[in-house]
């Protein structure tokens, strides 16, 4: 086979020749270029922490609707708590105290997360928020996604990928993120992952991340295969850069589709509970196990907008917290069984907490500051920061003492090894939540 002739561009040829020849071809799928670089490096070279591989993964768990932080991490020794929440307040005897001397504890439904906490795999960051809190779901979610207090602009993870794109060789794409560097499991691709150049892959089930023409009739498969493998005419490559770009992207998409679908087709190593979030995390664990080049995964759990009848130790909100706890617990058991737990940091957030006082419908209205969770063997376990005061309030809401961008800064700078001030458009001191 003539590697430098026009035949050098077919997808099959790439897959067969693998990474060793990637640098000799002009039109190489972007991901092959970057993985060629990754593979060329000795496994433990340049790692900053012994035993932790550089191929680190971030999993973001979005709790949509505004999680009631005050009934998640509970200041059970504070009388104001019971005074302001006569019906929905949770008795101190039932909470999972975070230590013998601690005055805060996790909601009774969170046994599984308490287990992670006891194993040193969980850190609670208290009182997280931002200046002039916005109480609209839409806007506040955008603020968290863009890491901009006006909620305008590209997503913070999108900018992280964009920065990688910018550092890549413009001609060969060398150093650019893989097409599937960011994967969102769900119908919508979150704003957080949308960059100016980078767009994440998103799918509800991996079955959708493929060409549906194959389902029309069996006879479509053969011609489709031929289309994918047809060579790109080198004169087109030079004369019409748009066509060359599209052909390259089509190759990337095909390879990513095959890899992802193969990955999620395997059975997880542990039993997951029966919930949507657990299914999403099981898929993420399978993709991590398959060694995909994905750096950031995004999953979400909705239903936290508990305006009425949210319940106390049991009920609506308790069920949501149980779903969350059991899913992340199973996820880390799976990762441990794979031996991948050290590579994975998980972060949960919600667009806002809820009002301190319960409302007339035994629910809570939109509030402000709330806790965040960080999970994984690489977190500094424990509780970060004090519980916000229940009496010194901002229009009925908890005052934040930690800006969420200080958490992002740690995740970007210390975990993803990015230039966090460039990505965040300002310098935010990284919160000391990770072992470095």
């Amino acid at each position: 086979m003539d590697l430098h002739g026009s035949k050098a561009y077919s997808r099959r040829a790439f897959l067969q020749r693998g990474v060793t020849l990637a640098s000799s071809a002009v039109t190489v799928p972007y991901f092959l270029q970057s993985s060629a670089v990754a593979l060329a490096r000795p496994a433990n070279a340049g790692t900053s922490v012994a035993g932790v591989p550089e191929e680190r993964v971030l999993v973001v768990v979005q709790l949509a609707g505004g999680n009631d932080g005050l009934n998640t991490v509970i200041p059970f020794e504070d009388d104001s708590y019971y005074r302001l929440r006569p019906q929905i307040g949770i008795p101190g005897a039932q909470v999972h105290k975070l230590s013998a001397r601690s005055s805060i504890g996790l909601h009774p439904a969170m046994d599984s997360m308490k287990e992670l906490y006891d194993d040193g795999l969980l850190t609670v960051v208290q009182g997280v928020g931002y200046p002039n809190p916005n109480r609209s779901h839409f806007t506040s979610m955008d603020i968290w996604h863009t890491a901009d207090t006006s909620g305008v602009g590209d997503g913070w993870l999108g900018r992280f990928f964009d920065a990688q794109c910018a550092g890549a060789d413009p001609r060969t794409g060398k150093g650019a993120p893989a097409g599937h560097a960011g994967v969102a499991v769900g119908r919508d691709a979150p704003l957080a992952m949308q960059g100016r150049q980078y767009r994440p892959i998103s799918f509800e089930t991996a079955d959708m991340f493929r060409w549906t023409g194959l389902d029309l009739h069996p006879s479509m498969a053969q011609p489709y295969e031929e289309i994918l493998e047809s060579e790109l005419d080198p004169t087109v490559e030079q004369g019409n850069p748009s066509a060359a770009f599209l052909t390259r992207t089509a190759m990337d998409a095909q390879v990513a589709s095959a890899k992802i679908r193969r990955a999620v087709d395997t059975d997880p190593l542990v039993r997951y509970p029966n919930s949507g979030l657990a299914r999403q995390l099981a898929m993420v664990a399978s993709m991590i196990r398959a060694g995909l080049e994905t750096r950031v995964y995004y999953v979400s759990l909705g239903g936290f907008d508990t305006h009425a009848g949210q319940g106390g130790a049991g009920g609506q909100h308790a069920n949501l917290l149980r779903t969350l706890s059991e899913a992340v617990n199973a996820f880390y058991k799976d990762l441990q069984a794979q031996g991948n737990d050290g590579r994975v940091l998980t972060m949960s957030f919600s667009e806002f907490g809820r009002r301190v006082g319960q409302n007339a419908s035994n629910g809570t209205d939109h509030g402000a500051a709330a806790p965040m969770f960080l999970m994984g063997p690489m977190v500094r376990p424990g509780v970060h920061g004090g519980h916000p005061s229940l009496t010194d309030l901002d229009a009925g809401d908890l005052k934040y003492h930690t800006d969420f961008r200080n958490v992002y800064s740690a995740v970007l700078g210390e975990w993803l090894k990015a230039d966090s001030s460039r990505v965040l458009g300002g310098t935010f001191k990284p919160l000391r939540v990770l072992k470095t």
Binding site: D142, G179, S202, W211, T212, P223, I227, D233, A250
Partner: protein, 507 residues
């Protein structure tokens, strides 16, 4: 290496204007057309074809949107009386009453979000069915240019009014549009000019008015922004109408872009329109929309001819006092526009892809909601541009994820198949692809029985240019696998396969 494009703005001669050129014109100055429409424009010749597309006023019978097409008061502000009552309820700790007020506000917001979704479907439908495609395409251009997002303003009727402003000025005068945009409630809200008051000016609108809407970065000073913001103080809105608040307006003397005096918003716009940079900035933005991306550097062999073209387009624009139509007509008629290097060069926007598929292949529309959702997944949600700079366009449309959505939505239009299986409601209507072959039969009555001729004809229609041997081989092989019979199902399958070729994403 292909040679640089011609720098000629001379009108293309009628004999150089055939099927390929008419197809190109319909794609760029509209959303594409079926084979008969392409043939008709080719027969008319360039002058009449371009005139037909540009003179939207001459086409009658398609209803204009009406003020009552949507509900204007869903997001009505509470009256002073209601506000007083709400505050009293808060003061006396009447939780129930306060909760009622909040619940009503939430109901209004829900109704408004539902209305913006129906507006998305409504506009998409207009793009699909309007006999004046260039009017809708220019409306989309202005929406991306003066980008305002529902996400930030949460007021669907103001978005509708702005959309109407863009449509009524689509091919009109850019200057009048600028005078109107500083009075547009959606824009004023989006760029916070309702908070721009004499005592503490807000520079947001003043800055974007020059940077993104008219002059381009670097063609004004920070002082122009500061003084411009003062000229715009007091430009606010009340419900759906512009409201000038004299008390909030700074009556002092300002100096903006070389003009001075007690300037107001109109004087600011006049000062902008006097700048040569304004004509050049808008001309080059329209050029990028209709022709191609600008060369990245001066060393690019295309840089010289392209900048010569831009200079002359800007001169035409200035000469007509910012009328859009004459400049656009000059461009769409020019030899440069039809230069081979400009054909099949742009990446279709999601709107061009979806609307174009229906308009050119004559597929059923099936479900506007699914089409709107798919456009969102492809990165173009109507009324929700990503930021004040609008959609970036070009390569940013396509990545590994959006490419499958772009291909699969074509499968949906052709067959009714959604990514998750057959949609019972949507798949009722069967697509008849045979109408596409009428034009082929007209010139060659038996051609529709020849797989070779059908494939070559469809490739020319769907991708433009000369069919390549490997594509011919693949598709003819597909038809021969079905006994060589050109049945509706086989043609639909062929169209789905062509739409899966990377080149289909180009126009």
């Amino acid at each position: 290496m292909s040679s640089p494009p011609t720098a000629s703005l001379r009108p293309i001669t009628p004999d150089a204007f055939g099927y390929e050129q008419a197809r190109h014109l319909l794609l760029r100055a509209g959303f594409g057309g079926d084979p008969n429409q392409i043939r008709t424009l080719a027969d008319w010749g360039p002058k009449r074809a371009v005139k037909h597309l540009i003179e939207v006023g001459a086409i009658e019978g398609y209803p204009e949107p009406r003020a009552n097409s949507f509900e204007g008061d869903l997001m009505r502000q509470p009256t002073p009386e209601e506000l007083r009552e709400y505050r009293r309820a808060q003061e006396r700790g009447d939780e129930e009453r306060v909760a009622q007020f909040r619940a009503r506000r939430q109901r209004m917001q829900r109704a408004d979000r539902s209305q913006i979704r129906s507006m998305q479907r409504w506009w998409l439908e207009r793009m699909i069915e309007s006999p004046k495609p260039l009017e809708e395409k220019m409306t989309l251009f202005w929406h991306g240019h003066f980008a305002t997002s529902y996400r930030a303003i949460e007021h669907s009727y103001q978005m509708f009014l702005q959309n109407q402003l863009f449509r009524s000025h689509a091919l009109g005068n850019f200057g009048s549009m600028l005078f109107r945009i500083i009075r547009d409630p959606a824009m004023i809200r989006y760029l916070n000019n309702d908070r721009n008051v004499a005592r503490s000016p807000n520079e947001n609108l003043a800055r974007e008015l020059m940077e993104l809407f008219s002059l381009g970065e670097g063609n004004y000073s920070e002082r122009d922004i500061k003084e411009g913001a003062r000229a715009l103080t007091g430009y606010s809105f009340s419900e759906n109408d512009f409201l000038f608040v004299p008390d909030r307006h700074d009556q002092g003397s300002k100096r903006i872009l070389g003009r001075s005096g007690n300037m107001d918003g109109d004087d600011f716009v006049r000062a902008i329109l006097e700048q040569r940079d304004c004509s050049e900035f808008i001309a080059s933005k329209l050029y990028r929309f209709f022709v191609r991306e600008l060369p990245a550097s001066r060393d690019d062999p295309d840089a010289k001819p392209v900048s010569a073209i831009l200079r002359r387009l800007a001169a035409t624009f200035r000469g007509s006092r910012y009328e859009i139509a004459p400049m656009l007509e000059q461009l769409l008629l020019s030899e440069h526009f039809y230069d081979p290097s400009n054909l099949q060069r742009q990446i279709k926007s999601p709107a061009e892809l979806v609307v174009g598929a229906v308009r050119s292949m004559r597929t059923p529309v099936r479900d506007l909601g699914i089409l709107v959702d798919a456009m969102d997944l492809m990165g173009q949600s109507l009324f929700f541009p990503p930021n004040v700079a609008g959609w970036e366009g070009g390569r940013s449309w396509v990545n590994t994820s959006t490419l499958f959505v772009r291909q699969n939505i074509l499968n949906f239009l052709l067959t009714g198949k959604t990514p998750s299986g057959y949609d019972a409601m949507a798949s009722v209507e069967r697509y008849d692809p045979m109408v596409l072959l009428d034009d082929l039969r007209e010139t060659d009555p038996d051609a529709d029985r020849s797989p070779q001729k059908v494939v070559s004809y469809l490739l020319r229609f769907m991708l433009g240019g000369e069919p390549t041997p490997d594509k011919m081989r693949t598709l003819v092989g597909f038809i021969e696998g079905h006994g060589g019979r050109v049945t509706p199902d086989v043609v639909t399958g062929t169209l789905a396969l062509i739409a899966a070729m990377p080149e289909y994403q180009l126009c």
